[in-house]
């Protein structure tokens, strides 16, 4: 390291008193030009498009918000969405219901890999169209193996389903033992009582540790400010769900919290043309998912990692 080319002439005598005025002027000139150069180097900040509001900056963690503060936060989000997208959204803070634990089951025999779930998810959850963010990844897998390195992530849809392949959609598994929650340094992501792992988009610092921790590639980061055409905005929003995000924070599948906590099915399930997707309350023994878990041969992805997913795969035969 050439760090120390700086130490010559240590014995130099201090300058005589008479020069102090001149050296003061010289020092001030040096400091002034240094500051000016620093200001000039910060010029790209002028291109900053989305200066967050002071209100957002000072807002407390979701779990610490009083009802009044929550109302203020929702009002702020309404204002911001209206300003940015020109429509007044319906934003709610939906809480988990008692006696409910959501579970997803996916029938690999039925899935044809059409990716309609992916598109429905993007539309429902106000995901960025540029750069593209999608919560669901569909793998085209050759029959006879579960080695995902053999899977094709970028197959073309018009030809599906192709003979000799099966299709495996992967999204957030809403683990019971979620590694992403454990690693978050600021508690910006947590598991709710209905089993959904959520993110407080206003609290996340964007370190992407959760993304590194997730064994299912379920988390997405906003590398740039998300772009969504105004006419494609879904105005039915939830605080922990599909409200628009800003750059620099994480997001992920939340089982369509804005729908499922209001008694509807997730968007991916509703759009599925083959009925491969099943969703429901595992605490209700009569629910469809309870039936499937009881009677089908189900499995979870990467069981050895110990994450205990709430997302199950099964085959009909």
């Amino acid at each position: 390291m050439a760090a120390n080319t700086s130490l010559p002439n240590l014995a130099a005598p201090p300058p005589p008193e008479g020069t102090s005025r001149r050296s003061f002027l010289r020092a001030s000139a040096a400091v002034a030009s240094g500051l000016a150069a620093m200001a000039a180097s910060l010029a790209p900040l002028r291109e900053l498009s989305d200066l967050g509001s002071v209100e957002e900056f000072l807002q407390n963690h979701y779990k610490e918000l009083t009802p009044v503060e929550m109302e203020q936060a929702l009002a702020r989000i309404r204002r911001e969405v209206e300003k940015q997208y020109g429509l007044r959204p319906h934003v709610r803070d939906l809480r988990p219901m008692d006696g409910v634990e959501f579970v997803y089951c996916l029938n690999l025999t039925r899935c044809i890999g059409c990716r309609k779930c992916v598109h429905a998810c993007v539309a429902e959850n106000n995901q960025s169209r540029s750069p593209e963010i999608q919560y669901i990844r569909v793998l085209k897998m050759p029959n006879g193996t579960f080695d995902m390195e053999k899977g094709d992530h970028h197959y073309a849809t018009p030809t599906v389903p192709e003979k000799g392949f099966f299709y495996m959609p992967v999204q957030c598994h809403q683990c019971k033992n979620p590694p992403c929650v454990k690693v978050c340094p600021v508690d910006a992501t947590w598991q709710e009582s209905d089993g959904i792992t959520v993110i407080d988009y206003d609290w996340c610092i964007g370190c992407r540790y959760c993304e590194a921790a997730c064994p299912y590639f379920a988390r997405r980061f906003n590398f740039a400010e998300p772009k969504i055409p105004k006419e494609q905005i879904n105005p039915d929003m939830a605080y922990l769900g599909n409200r628009p995000r800003h750059k620099g924070v994480m997001e992920k599948c939340h089982f369509c919290i804005q729908r499922t906590r209001a008694g509807k099915y997730p968007a991916c399930l509703e759009v599925c043309p083959t009925g491969a997707r099943k969703f429901g309350n595992i605490l209700d023994p009569a629910s469809e998912v309870s039936q499937i878990l009881r009677h089908k041969r189900v499995f979870v992805l990467k069981e050895e990692v110990g994450t205990l997913p709430r997302f199950f795969y099964y085959f009909d035969v």
């Binding site: 130490l7 240590l10 240094g34 899977g151 600021v186 964007g206 750059k247 990692v305």
Partner: protein, 557 residues
């Protein structure tokens, strides 16, 4: 309390002033570093405005060269402990004065670490969410929150120890060991903890088999204890070179050249007592002995009292004027200390009967008291005086060849362990050959036609092995070859535990997808900026510390 506070503040003020002074080389170097900092700042401003999209990172490869540099630099910071342990546990005298260089390097390295973490954040404006008590801190759950605590704690420990010891040197007061030894010993454990915690950041992720290996922690420590001391070896030689001049023929030392020589008188002892208050507690018997055997010399500028390597007996106390203690290493001469009234020299060889460790030359016309070894022993029976003399025996900024060779031993052993542990990992990965070997295959040989990291890792392995062989050969007892080995080790380890550890952990992705990573220009410029920032900090710290350690910059001057 307020007075010592005021003294300390004036110390800081004067240090600040000193940091702004230097010759044209100092201004050129710091100016260039500052310019590079601004280039980095400019690149960061662009990233701040447009998001991390201006980097090469993706959802698949979520961390890149920022976190790679962070990981490497935590190791550099931790390595300061490799100077502390020999000195404070094994009482190594050669390294005594060099500890502070390691700790100052640790300060610079931690500041760089914090900068690398900050630039990696998507929302740096929310960093306050990480402050315990104000934000919401996921402790002890998240290893990242552990890292926040250990890194900032380590920074505080090192700033405290450096500031305290330097201030004591500056104020010419012996440091109180209760005030600096506890933090130094805590620092030893703490240094190991910062790198272990950083390793656990990776090790704790069950979904990333490449990192989920118990050996990463020991590997991190071994590579840190190789690269860190290697960096310190290079830095010390630069300090040595800059503070040195070519060794010229100094006239042979003999006190017969003195202008006048006379027996010591009561007046001389009173004068010594004025500058050295502890002298007052000396017993009458020892005083009598001193009066009978002491000699007072009046010498002109450039008079040489004693010469490094020669034998001689007797120690000297300065009564008046200024004496420089110079040391010759590798054909270059450096002032390791300058002494004013009340300070002693020559006592080490007088007490031990060993050759002179340095050359002492009068910097201005001076008057000194020469004390034979026997009389010095008498004096040191006074506990107060003994304490002061013993404390000052180490107040010399020696960067001896022997000290550098001690560091070479550390680098040597650490490098052997580092390569051994790497070999263990490679064996486990490839011999088992299960699906989890994918990342390692990608790193070393490429996977499914993707091999961006292959040239890098083999460069690293070549560097590490060459460095290892060089370090094992006696050839590296020559500093030139030692430098080559150190540079190779640093480059090799930077690649191996930076890019070679962070990136392949993400490739292939957990769903088997291969997305490669390479840093963008903007990202690279940010890195350059942070490195320049770190070097600037280290330069300024050394600019202040070296004159203090040499005794040229004190409260009196």
């Amino acid at each position: 309390m307020t007075r010592s506070m005021k003294n300390f503040l004036s110390f800081l003020g004067r240090c600040g002033q000193l940091a702004c002074e230097g010759d044209w080389r100092y201004y050129a170097w710091t100016g260039a570093l500052f310019a590079l900092c601004l280039v980095g700042l400019n690149a960061y401003a662009r990233q701040f405005a447009h998001g991390l999209a201006v980097t090469g990172m993706t959802d698949q490869v979520a961390w890149g060269v920022y976190i790679a540099n962070f990981t490497f630099l935590v190791g550099v910071a931790a390595a300061a402990v490799m100077l502390v342990i020999p000195v404070y546990i094994y009482k190594n005298e050669e390294l005594h004065d060099l500890v502070i260089f390691g700790e100052l390097l640790a300060i610079a390295a931690i500041l760089m670490c914090l900068a690398f973490v900050m630039v990696d954040l998507g929302r740096p404006d929310r960093f306050w969410h990480m402050i315990p008590g104000i934000g919401k801190f996921n402790f002890p759950g998240s290893l990242l929150s552990w890292d926040v605590i250990v890194l900032n704690g380590y920074l505080a420990l090192n700033i405290y120890v450096c500031a305290y010891l330097l201030y004591c040197r500056y104020a010419k007061q012996p440091p109180n060991k209760w005030l600096y030894l506890p933090p130094i010993f805590i620092g030893i454990v703490w240094a190991i903890s910062i790198h272990t915690v950083t390793a656990f950041l990776y090790v704790g992720l069950g979904g990333r088999p490449f990192w989920n290996s118990a050996i990463i922690g020991p590997r991190f420590l071994a590579s840190a204890f190789t690269a860190g001391p290697a960096l310190i070896i290079l830095a010390l030689q630069i300090v040595r070179r800059i503070t040195a001049r070519a060794a010229d023929e100094t006239p042979s030392a003999t006190d017969a050249n003195a202008q006048s020589m006379r027996p010591a008188s009561v007046v001389d002892l009173a004068l010594l007592g004025k500058f050295l208050p502890e002298f007052d507690s000396v017993s009458d018997e020892a005083r009598q002995h001193l009066l009978a055997s002491g000699t007072v010399l009046e010498v002109p500028t450039a008079h040489t009292f004693l010469r490094q390597g020669t034998r001689g007996e007797g120690a000297y106390f300065v009564l008046n004027g200024r004496v420089a203690v110079n040391r010759e290493d590798s054909g270059r001469l450096r002032t390791v200390r300058t002494l004013g009234p009340g300070e002693q020299f020559g006592e080490i060889s007088a007490l031990n009967g060993t050759p002179r460790t340095a050359t002492a030359v009068a910097e201005e016309p001076s008057r000194v008291l020469r004390v034979p070894a026997e009389a010095l022993r008498q004096l040191m029976k006074t506990p107060e005086l003994e304490r002061v003399i013993r404390a000052r025996m180490h107040d010399r900024l020696m960067i001896s060849d022997r000290a550098l060779l001690t560091l070479r031993h550390i680098v040597q052993v650490a490098m052997i362990i580092n390569v051994f542990l790497l070999g263990n990992e490679v064996f486990k990965e490839f011999y088992t050959g299960n699906l989890h070997v994918s990342s390692a295959t990608y790193l070393y040989f490429g996977l499914h036609g993707h091999h961006a990291l292959v040239p890098w890792i083999w460069t690293a392995i070549a560097c590490n092995l060459t460095a290892l062989v060089l370090l094992l050969l006696p050839i590296t007892t020559s500093l030139k070859w030692l430098d080559v080995a150190c540079v190779l080790a640093i480059v090799g380890i930077w690649i191996e535990k930076g890019m070679g550890l962070v990136i392949p952990g993400f490739i292939p992705s957990p769903l088997g997808e291969i997305v490669e990573y390479s840093p963008t220009w903007n990202e690279t410029l940010v890195c350059f900026g942070i490195w320049a920032f770190g070097l600037l900090i280290y330069t300024v710290l050394l600019r202040v510390a070296v004159p203090i350690l040499q005794g040229r910059f004190t409260r009196a001057t």
